[in-house]
Amino acid sequence: MKLLVCISNVPDTTTKVRFADNQTRFDATGVQWIINPWDELALTRAVDLKEDSNNPVSEVVVINVGSVETEPTLRKCLAIGADKAIRIDTVPKDAFQTAKQIASLAQKNAFDFIICGIESGDYNSSSVGGMIAEFLDTVSVSSVSDIQFQEGKAIVERDVAAGKEYIQMEGNAVLIVQKGFAKEPKIPNMRGIMMARQKPLEVIPANDANALTEYIGFQLPEPKAKVKMVNADQMTELVNFLSKEAKVL
């Protein structure tokens, strides 16, 4: 089985977010870039599945739609254990255009499962996975929190409002993963980093997919009102605030 893990390259969560050019674009000066946390968990799990010979997974490929600046992130994915990286050479404009790039690559190469994270830490669109599936006219399972193999078939666990459901699949699907898919991200070791240098990082030109949406401006939220402190012996007062002022009780 071949797995394709979609990797979004995002600013580290602790980044102080700033905007430039009259608040029309994200200011990337001094920003530390990381593998989107959910994608890192997806990759970790994919590599674990491949390394455990009880599973039918034979190859893990990572893909990113992005400019040359995302290559360190893809190299890190190779160091974690992906076999191959693909970069589709364009700056993503929106989820639709990004998904169309990945879908057209997947159309030409058979992957049993395409795995995406639930959202990118930057634009939080929660879209690319579902969109890829629709472009490919294939099944998608969202809120995936685990995958196991039994007799060559995958059992995919998903969260639903009422609890959990287990879905049997033979592949040809997009999985959109969230928390739980792997517990801790894998940290690349020295050997992995050395090996990553010899692994292929293929760059492919983008297709001419259009975007349907456009980011036109950004704002930082209004500074939050200062926290209202309540004395530890005055819990009745806190309850009053919560019911009368905040109206949440």
């Binding site: 969560t13 977010v17 905007f19 946390p37 968990l41 989820a95 639709f96 639930i118 830490g121 930057d122 939080n124 669109s125 929660s126 879209s127 690319v128 996975g129 579902g130 969109m131 599936a133 629709e134 099944v139 969202s142 809120s143 969260d159 409002a161 009422a162 609890g163 959990k164 459901e165 287990y166 879905i167 699949m169 959109i176 928390k179 739980g180 991200p185 349907l212 949406t213 456009e214 980011y215 036109i216 950004f218 930082l220 939220p221 939050k224 926290v227 209202k228 402190m229 309540v230 004395n231 530890a232 819990m235 009745t236 309850v239 009053n240 919560l242 019911s243 905040a246 949440v248 009780l249």
Partner: protein, 323 residues
Amino acid sequence: MSVLVYIQNFGSKLKKQNFEVASYGSKLAESMQCPAIAVVMGTMEDSELEKLGNYGISKTLKVTDEGFNTLINKLFTQVVQQVVVQEKVTTVIFPDNNEGKAIAPRLSVKLNAGFVSGVVSMPVTLEPFIISKRVFSGKALAQVQINSPLKIISLAINSFGLHEAKTVNQIVSFEPKVSVDDQSTKIVDRKIHSEGISLLDADRVVSGGRGMKGPENWKPLEELAKVIGAATACSRPVSDAGWRSHEEHVGQTGKIIAPNLYIAVGISGATQHVAGISRSKCIVAINNDPDAPIFEVADYGVIGDAAQILPKLTEAVKAFKGE
């Protein structure tokens, strides 16, 4: 022309968040001078569906076949697409939750319609269609323009509130042209939450961190959760240490939640934790360190020992509710 609201079916019941998307949809429809209609998948009594009329929905299409009681992303997308075509819908509104995230992006591709997720307010302008959404896990807002004739948005839960607008809600059956015996999503097993409230849908959440000191101290936290009808959650070190189940872990690598009320007990407020809870409407922090960063994001703060404060708060809530 009409605005279509996607109503998630919570085990044949409606929830407050359904009324919130309905409220949003009917307000938007009003500004566009067209009707707001709704679609519901799976079985639900008409008496339940009628309640949508209290929030401005004038027609509800129900797709009652039992085959629609389980979410099948691809199939549900087909159905909504057929409703969009039949009802000449120009704007579709989903809840920004698991089910919305499962269907809306697919529908966007199917209809070639721009999709903006996690919107927090009415459009800034209708022509061009510009709308605000949260980005960078709540650290900023963005204005996004949708350039396609058809528009799809998902509404951040608890961002708009309820707005009553009594309307006669006509309930009609919709017969989609799809095959319901779709075997692609074959459910082989289920585990239903036996008790408690699902964290992802919870209106209120009480959450414990390392300041709780150990799993044996969770009783008072659970008591509080019980009296206010909250789900329980925890920080990552707590679930990593096995004090609580991984299901409860919220944050950057855990669940992202947006309850009305989030009570953080013994949680320092690390950025990675806050990334999962900053969309909450009201945050209360209980911590013995006045300099804990959680107080920078909290609306209300209490300084002191969690073990002592929790029972007092529970008592105060009980007294307030007259128990």
